[in-house]
């Protein structure tokens, strides 16, 4: 698997596990699954359904539709910034870890970036499950104290006169960044715009490029 990591020895990162480690975890997890099924703590069809929903149904394409709609429809954007949960529900998205949504808008004066320093809370209905980097100790620990250095790791330079706001998701409120619409996209339709909007821009570590 391709990786940008410069720290291949980092033992706690998913992509650095050995086959033996994965085999040991496989065995441990299979035992736990068998035990929970036998005890009646979980049902097999429920496990399959969960994997299916979070692997196939939910992902950043949902958030991209929300952002694209906000870019083309000023009334929608207004509703989104006032009551994100309801505005996102208008597009059919909602549920676990998206019960209380807040959308924060990037402007020429303010750049927003989202983290959960305590665990890895993330808005599942609009972005899916979080990438490994969002859950990494490096990101969780550093972005609150050195956000500009973290953003630079993603190739994002923020001018000194722009305020960087870091949103630490310590409660059940989940944050989505509304990125700035890039110049040169005036003639694009909603679907074409949505195709430009990547996950990382909605977490706030990158900007949307035209």
């Amino acid at each position: 698997m391709a990786t940008h990591s410069h720290d291949k020895k980092n033992p706690y990162h998913e992509s650095n596990r050995s086959d033996a480690d994965n085999q040991a975890l496989d065995d441990r997890v299979n035992k736990m699954e068998a035990l929970l099924l036998e005890k009646g703590l979980v049902a097999k069809d429920a496990l399959d359904k969960l994997a299916d929903i979070y692997e196939n149904d939910l992902g950043p394409m949902n958030g991209a539709k929300v952002v694209a709609r906000a870019w083309v429809d000023p009334e929608y954007k207004k509703r989104l910034l006032e009551d994100a949960t309801s505005a996102i529900a208008e597009l059919g998205f909602g549920g676990l870890q998206g019960e209380h949504m807040v959308v924060v808008e990037n402007t020429p004066e303010v750049h927003n970036v989202v983290v959960c320093t305590l665990c890895s809370c993330y808005p599942w209905p609009v972005l899916g499950l979080p990438p490994a980097w969002y859950k990494s100790f490096a990101y969780r620990s550093k972005v609150v104290i050195e956000p500009r250095e973290v953003l630079a790791e993603f190739g994002t330079e923020i001018p000194d006169d722009v305020e960087v706001r870091v949103w630490d998701s310590s409660a059940e409120i989940r944050y989505l960044v509304l990125p700035e619409r890039p110049a040169g996209t005036e003639n694009l339709g909603e679907e074409e715009l949505a195709a430009l909007i990547e996950r990382d821009a909605m977490i706030g570590v990158t900007k949307v490029a035209a």
């Binding site: 698997m1 391709a2 990786t3 940008h4 990591s5 720290d7 980092n10 998913e14 992509s15 596990r17 496989d26 441990r28 997890v29 299979n30 035992k31 699954e33 035990l35 036998e38 005890k39 009646g40 703590l41 979980v42 049902a43 429920a46 359904k49 969960l50 929903i53 909602g94 549920g95 676990l96 870890q97 209380h100 983290v115 320093t117 305590l118 665990c119 890895s120 209905p125 499950l129 990438p131 490994a132 980097w133 990494s136 100790f137 490096a138 969780r140 620990s141 609150v144 104290i145 956000p147 790791e153 993603f154 006169d161 305020e163 960087v164 870091v166 630490d168 310590s170 409660a171 409120i173």
Partner: protein, 219 residues
């Protein structure tokens, strides 16, 4: 609880490990742990208990575990705490001591309803009438907490400004420990980088964090 999960403000964990074309799950066992964790919350939950279980891991084990390894440990911890599982059963992967379950596990339809419908944390019958208003200066109380708590160390004792009232939310400190919901006003609070990290900080940064009313005092 003071442990390494509360890691906001450290700077030396190294470069952020990024992958291109990252899969949702890196191995089949991750997929299974994710699904088991969510599905078993019907018995092992609420989610506050699940978060606290992970926080209770030994510091060294926490740092040496990946995300879903910590979730797996969380299932073990909660299962044992609540009397559903024993170490012997976990090692064997089969039931040794039978325990009658209070109800059947959620099936696929119920689980889909949970995933699509969510579990709101707000309460209409919780404590309303916030004692702070937007613009008020507040200090995060310095309180020793042995149980679950969601005020990060990096804001404790620090002064911020209320920017938003978010309604009445379940207090995780109570909910994680079967002490009821104690729903109360939740505030968005803004802290300047200079307040958090030092008077010599000149960059124009700030952190917004959500804090329950019981965490705060007037400043």
């Amino acid at each position: 609880m003071n442990n390494i999960h509360d890691m906001g403000g450290f700077t030396q964990f190294g470069p952020i490990p990024r992958e291109s074309d990252e899969p949702v799950f890196h191995a089949d066992w991750e997929r299974k742990v994710f699904a088991m964790n969510i599905a078993s919350l019907a018995f092992l939950g609420p989610v506050d208990r699940a978060r606290h279980a992970v926080e209770r891991m030994s510091t060294v084990e926490y740092l040496n575990s990946s995300y879903y390894e910590r979730w797996l440990r969380g299932i073990e911890i909660m299962g044992k705490d609540l009397g559903y599982l024993t170490d012997e059963e976990i090692a064997a992967g089969k039931e040794i001591n039978h325990k009658d379950m209070p109800h059947p596990p959620p099936d696929a339809n119920m689980i889909e309803g949970l995933a699509r419908g969510g579990v709101p944390a707000t309460r209409d019958d919780g404590r309303q009438n916030p004692i702070f208003n937007v613009g008020d200066r507040v200090r995060v109380k310095l309180v020793e907490t042995k149980g679950h708590n969601r005020a990060t160390n990096y804001v404790k004792g620090k002064v911020g400004v209320i920017t938003k009232l978010n309604g009445s939310h379940i207090l995780p400190d109570a909910h994680a420990h079967d002490l009821g919901e104690n729903a109360q006003p939740l505030y968005s609070v803004r802290f300047e980088a200079q307040t958090l990290w030092g008077e010599n900080v000149t960059r124009k940064d700030c952190v917004y964090i959500d804090l329950w009313e019981d965490y705060l005092e007037p400043a």
